[in-house]
Amino acid sequence: MKKYIYFLSSLLFISMIACDDFLELEPHSQSVVVDNTAGDSLYFNSASELEAALGGAYGDFKNEYFQLDYYVNGDAQSDDAYAGGDNPDNFQIDDYMLDAVNRNVSRDWAYLYSAIGKVNNIINNADDVTDPALTDSRKQEIIGEAAFIRAFMYFQLVQLWGDVPLQLLEVTSISADKLEEIYAQIFPARASAAEVYAQIISDLETALTRVRTTAPHKGFATTGAVNALLAKVYATREPHDWAKVSQYADAVIGGGYSLLPEYDQLWDNAVENSAESIFEINYEGGPSDGNWGVTIFRGKDWKKFNLPANDLIAAFTAENDNIRKNASIIFEDVSGLWSDARYPQNAYPFINKWRNFGGDGAQNYIFIRLADILLLKAEALNELGDANGAAAIVNQIRDRVNLAPTSANNQSIMRLAIEKERRLELAFEGIRWFDLKRTGRAIDVVNQAKGPDGNLVGYMLTEPHLLWPVPQAELDKNANLTQNPGY
């Protein structure tokens, strides 16, 4: 009988000694960020881990915000496009009727901060990487590129919401011990727009001295992209600093970029990452790198988003600007599919700037190009009192599309000329709404937008709706947040 007891005891024993190892299971398909037991463990252990994280941060330029909402916010929210489609969230944006539970509002907030969190990890931990494979110059480039990305994201946030939380630290793990230390990251309050702009400029200055001048393609932060963004930021931040705009625009203009000879060459997909392009998101197509956003704007399978507005078409027509009109808008027959009170079924407009909409998903998006910066330079010159200098640049842009030189000859008329030129040149590139906002013209212009028959569309934009509501779900979670006035 004893032998049975030995047998049992040994069975129990075997299962017991195996235990501690038995319960220690680490993931196979993902990496562990930091070893929680060691206080001095590194976030990035090697050069390639750091590069991979930077790749992940750049990847956010291909999320839904940048494939779709970037253009809805910039164009459907302006007098250039209607919401199109049949989506109440987009209608709210188009009609300046946003509420705090709008789906786009809540997801855009999350997308932008998601990218910021990723670059915070890089900016704050890159210096600790001791891997000899990481040269110091590459390390500096990486920090610079991450800083550019952070500035790009905050620039979106501050333009949309005004005061927003300024998240600059990363959170890697959350535990009771650390709660006090990380509380401000978990439940952040809003920083003033001025503080956010200061951070954006500081990040871009960090980037400017570190990033490359040329990169494998235009989808990376380069000196030109940083200078261009600085010019845009100084033209947007209140008060505008036109000297800085001029300075950084000059740096771009002298940075080896040139206008393409023909306007349509920007959109015919024959040449990607062209000499005019400054920051361009490169898609290779396919399920893991496809730009499906273009199919939301173009195609006859359903009623698409960002329907070109009558007011914009009228502006092209008034200017007799057929080259840019045809490059920007295409009319198609949608009889039997749907109708719209604003257009006849046999001549229904679509955006024509992204033409690879039915195929492999390899359509690139150009976010910043030279014409934009040239016109900013013109604006700076005009604001600094040099209307003639401004006219020269405006005429350079007009000349490419065979339009006569501008007749504007004083500062106030030139302002409107530049506004119109930017509208026609940069239509559907996600810029119009933010141009109207930064020049203080949004309410005047938008409320005068005309519909199909020359009557007012009837927008009723008011001051509070120049800023978006903070998502209600964020307010519900975070007692330290406040809502913008009017929501």
């Binding site: 993902q30 049949d86 978990i186 359903w302």
Partner: protein
């Protein structure tokens, strides 16, 4: 020879010289009872009935006491008769009944904990796919809901309320000793009995995984000396209980002209009744053949089953082939070997539901698709007619049949055990179990028929995963007694368990024109991934039970568990319980009406970690493909979870008191229990601000309490030719969140159309309450809903949101009546839920009037300048969704009473059976869900778009409706 005869004669005379009585003991149907105990009261005179049920007892005065397991004990005074045939009546309760408990069995009378047994009779003659269905309405304290009527869909089983948010609330199932959380593969017809361990003291022997209770399932086994061949078959037809009337094309066009003027093609005037196209008849059928038998040495059960269920909205279907082999072998005097093996293959086709019409939800699409569209384009292209208003919004038929998809599972679940009797009362047992499953899901969307398919030029997906779980348990049992007054038993054991799951997934697009080729080799663009996940558990446990004369009962157990998922892996789960059998006290002996009376009390702790991700304690980095760099530098990466080095067991402490009362020889039984469950260190997905790249963290962050009462009553009302018995149970549970860390409130239940969370978790409230505005009806001036200024600040703002409903029922109940008359048996099973509310989000899309969705006829009464006195607001476009905010407008009473099943069965009489050479033959017809009494306006009140969720209860959003079913069946025994 002469000697023998004379001896016999002598014996005969001897016997005759004593007075004696003899006769036959049968059940109410006249079947002989073999081995019934016939005893002369207060003497040692006793005998057993023979194979024909005959007995003889040497006495003709005094009182005969007849007892037989499963029948009411009978006492018959002798009045000098020499023959006495006795008919025994079925008992609901018998003192000698045993109940399966964790790692053993125990006499029902000696239980000190809350255990409810659901027997085979709750399964018989009811077509069901899952054993969980058999628990619905049958066991007090067990709330079973079927969140959707889709074939093969999971049930939500809650034993005594919801204890957890993240770690799961489904009970642990232990099938013949193998723990599992998925019993969909188990054929209900193979089940002999289910024991539901409800309180901590019964369940804590399964400590780590027992916080939600344990369901022990014992399958049928062979019986020595009796060969049985059984054939069971049924076939049934189901349909939808009701449809919801939507607008005609004319009415629709009028409505859209108010919302988006000019948006409709003038030629769009056709009409399709989408619900008519979507819903049809479903079927269910099952065929089972089983063999049982054996010898004293080896007993066996072999059963094979084919089951097929198709839904009322195609292509949803579930079919399953299963084979079971149970073997028991007495290898030597001291060694028993047992084998249980269940192999099955199931196939599931899905009809996507619980999603909006624009996101593939078939049910919402059947309601919302504009009526002017056709199923197919009228141009003869064979393409589905697409909705021109929204991306990828196809008509419901396209969602149903556009893609060809099927999931299949091939599963082996079984165990081998060896039990050694070392000496009397002491045994050692080792049990090795496996649960191995190969899952495969294939999907193909051709490049022609749907918009989505054309845009991608065909899509193929293949998902294959293998789950392999093994378990090794070793236990030692010791039973003993001292002077037949002190009885005790000791159990000690260990258990280790490990799971490995690996998956490969391929996704391809850009297919050739030949739609016969579905495999991914033909896709021009492919991405893929593989994944591996593991978890392990290690446990040590012990239990002691003691009783004094079966009168004072004590039990204590302790279990120590380790989990690989937790940063602090080990937890200790103790329990104690005690019982007092008052009926065994001398002072109770004259109270003849009381057959058994027992008071029970127990306390214990159980753990939970089931639902949390395997590597939740670590901060994790995921990898994403990017354009290769030169030189190569790998994929891009991003941190996707925060680590939590504090992660520990979620622990539920439960106290239970109960009373078991049995009257009139077991004819009337009452069980009542009261309990308090407190869950500490509740595992939660804490929602952080979206100003962080990762917006949730798994952590222990709260306390939840459940309190409740439950009562069950069983009664044999009449016996004899017409017999009638009643079983009833009712359960009351109150759930409350006691404490939340990190933030005071968590939100769940995002409603698609208004992007608002309707479920809230907050201190002092139960899980599953609804949050939103209070609707005060339509303003006759504006046609808009007026919301109550709840915070009384004079304006309408988010502060006006409050609690607007509760998805938890006040009580749930079940009532079963069984009538039998001659060869007929009628079983009526009613089941219901009272006081629960439903947030009918389907109505947001069906009465919201804010975009191009078709609406229900309710909106014909909408506000217009000419119709101001109405409850239905105006139609308005332009993104104005103020009238469809989450509000009390969409909260409805979800109480229901349902005739869950009614079965009429007829057993063929013995004479015909003899002629047919059969043992048994019965036929039945069963109706399921034939009647539902409810005020709920949706398809069905038994609904949850969020499935088994703990925090989102009673939300209806295009959920696949329950169906009504009529089934015909036959059971034959050869």
């Amino acid at each position: 020879m002469v000697k023998i005869i004379s001896t016999l004669v002598f014996l005969f005379i001897t016997v005759c010289s004593y007075s004696q009585v003899s006769g036959r003991i049968t059940d109410s149907k006249g079947e002989p009872l073999i081995g019934a105990v016939v005893r002369l009261k207060d003497t040692d005179v006793a005998t057993l009935t023979d194979i024909d049920g005959h007995y003889t007892v040497g006495a003709n005065e005094g009182t005969l006491v007849v007892s037989y397991t499963g029948f009411i004990q009978k006492e018959i005074p002798l009045t000098g008769q020499t023959t006495l045939d006795i008919v025994m009546e079925d008992a609901l309760y018998n003192l000698n009944d045993v109940v399966v408990i964790g790692y053993g069995v125990q006499k029902k009378t000696e239980l000190t904990s809350a255990v409810v047994v659901v027997g085979e009779e709750s399964i018989r003659n009811r077509p069901m796919v899952s054993a969980a269905e058999a628990l619905q309405g049958k066991a007090a304290g067990v709330q079973v809901t079927q969140p959707s009527g889709k074939p093969g869909n999971d049930f939500a089983v809650r034993i005594r309320g919801t204890t957890s948010v993240l770690a799961g609330n489904e009970p642990l199932y232990v099938v013949d000793g193998v723990p599992t959380t998925d019993i969909r593969g188990l054929n209900p017809n193979d089940i002999a009995t289910m024991s539901v361990l409800k309180d901590a003291s019964s369940a804590s022997i399964y400590g780590a995984r027992a916080a939600n209770g344990v369901v022990l399932i014992t399958t049928k086994r062979g019986i020595a000396g009796k060969s049985v061949i059984e054939l069971n078959a049924y076939y049934g037809v189901s349909d939808i209980r009701k449809t919801i009337q939507t607008l005609s094309t004319k009415q629709y066009r009028d409505l859209i002209d108010e919302i988006i003027p000019g948006a409709l093609d003038p030629a769009a005037t056709g009409y399709t009744d989408w619900q008519d196209e979507t819903f049809g008849y479903g079927t269910n059928q099952s065929y089972q053949l089983s063999f049982r038998g054996g010898t004293d040495v080896t007993r066996y059960l072999i059963s094979g089953n084919y089951l097929n269920q198709t839904g009322i909205a195609k292509p949803a279907s579930f079919d399953r082939y299963s084979v079971r082999l149970n073997l028991d072998n007495k290898a030597t005097e001291w060694l028993n070997i047992g084998v249980n093996l269940n192999m099955l293959r199931s196939r599931t086709k899905d009809t996507p539901d619980n999603a909006s019409s624009g996101r593939g939800g078939v049910i919402m699409s059947a309601l919302n698709t504009p009526p002017f569209l056709h199923v197919f384009k009228t141009d003869g292209s064979g393409q589905y007619d697409p909705n021109p208003f929204q991306p990828s919004w196809e008509n419901p038929i396209a969602y149903m049949f556009g893609a060809d998809q099927e999931a299949s599972d091939t599963r082996v679940i079984g165990n081998v055990s060896g039990e050694v009797s070392v000496f009397k009362g002491f045994s050692l047992k080792t049990n090795f179990g496996v649960d191995h499953n190969n899952h495969q899901w294939d999907y193909y969307l051709d490049p022609f028929k749907t918009t989505f398919g054309r845009n991608n030029n065909g899509i193929g997906q293949a998902d294959k995963s293998t789950s392999s779980i093994w378990l090794w348990e070793n236990t030692a049992h010791y039973n003993s007694e001292i002077n037949d007054v002190h009885h005790f038993s000791i159990l000690a054991g260990s258990s280790i368990q490990k799971s490995k799951w690996s998956q490969s997934f391929l996704y391809g697009t850009d297919y050739p024109d030949d739609i016969a080729v579905h495999t991914l080799n033909a896709a021009n663009v492919i991405t893929g991934s593989t994944d591996v996940q593991e978890w392990s558990l290690a446990s040590f446990f012990g239990r002691v039970t003691y009783d004094y004369k079966s009168k004072y009962l004590l039990a204590a157990s302790v279990r120590r568990d380790g989990s690989s998922k937790l940063a602090n892996p080990w937890g200790t789960m103790p329990s104690v319980s005690a019982g007092w059998r008052i009926s065994a006290e001398p002072f109770m002996q004259n109270m003849n009406a009381i057959y058994d009376l027992k008071l029970r009390a127990g306390w214990g702790k159980n753990g939970n970690q089931e639902g949390i991700p395997n590597y939740a304690q670590y901060g994790l980095v995921s990898y994403y493909r990017r354009s290769p760099t030169n030189p190569l530098s790998g994929p891009s990466s991003a941190q996707v979870t925060y680590g939590n080095p504090d992660l520990r067991w979620e622990t539920t402490t439960q106290s239970n008191i109960g009373i078991d009362l049995s009257l009139f020889g077991g004819r009337l039984n009452l069980i009542a229990d009261a309990y308090v469950k407190k869950t500490d260190d509740v595992l939660l997905n804490v929602q952080l601000s979206n100003s962080l790249p990762i917006s949730t963290i798994q952590t222990n962050a709260g306390k939840i309490e459940n309190k409740g009462f439950e009562f069950s009553l069983g009664s044999v009302n009449t016996t004899g030719t017409f017999s009638w018995s009643t079983d009833a149970n009712i359960s009351f549970n109150k759930n409350k969140v006691i404490e939340l860390d990190f933030t005071e409130v968590y939100f769940f239940g995002r409603i698609y159309s208004n992007n608002q969370d309707v479920s809230i978790v907050r201190e002092g409230l139960p899980l599953g309450v609804f949050y939103g505005y209070i609707s005060e009806g339509v303003d006759p001036e504006t046609g808009d809903i007026v919301y109550k200024d709840f915070n009384e600040n004079g304006i309408f703002d988010p502060g006006d949101r409050t609690i607007i409903g509760d998805g938890n029922p006040d009580f749930t109940y079940g009532l079963t009546n069984t009538f039998s008359w001659k060869n007929f048996e009628l079983n009526l099973f009613l089941q219901g839920s009272q006081g629960n509310e439903i947030f009918n989000a389907t109505r947001i899309d069906l009465e919201g009037m804010f975009d191009s969705k078709n609406q229900s006829v309710v909106v014909l009464d909408r506000w217009t300048p000419d119709n101001r006195d109405t409850e239905i607001p105006r139609a308005i476009g332009g993104g104005n969704v103020k009238n469809v905010l989450n509000s009390s407008r969409f909260v409805e009473d979800g109480s229901y009473l349902r005739l869950k099943s009614v079965t009429l069965a007829y057993s063929i009489g013995n004479r015909i059976l003899d002629r047919l050479n059969l043992q048994k033959l019965s036929v039945y017809v069963t109706g399921q869900n034939l009647l539902t009494f409810t005020g709920y306006s949706g398809f069905d009140p038994e609904v949850n778009a969020f499935g088994r969720s703990a925090t989102e209860l009673g939300i209806d959003y295009g959920t696949y409706p329950q169906s009504r079913t009529v089934t015909f069946g036959v059971n034959v025994e050869f």
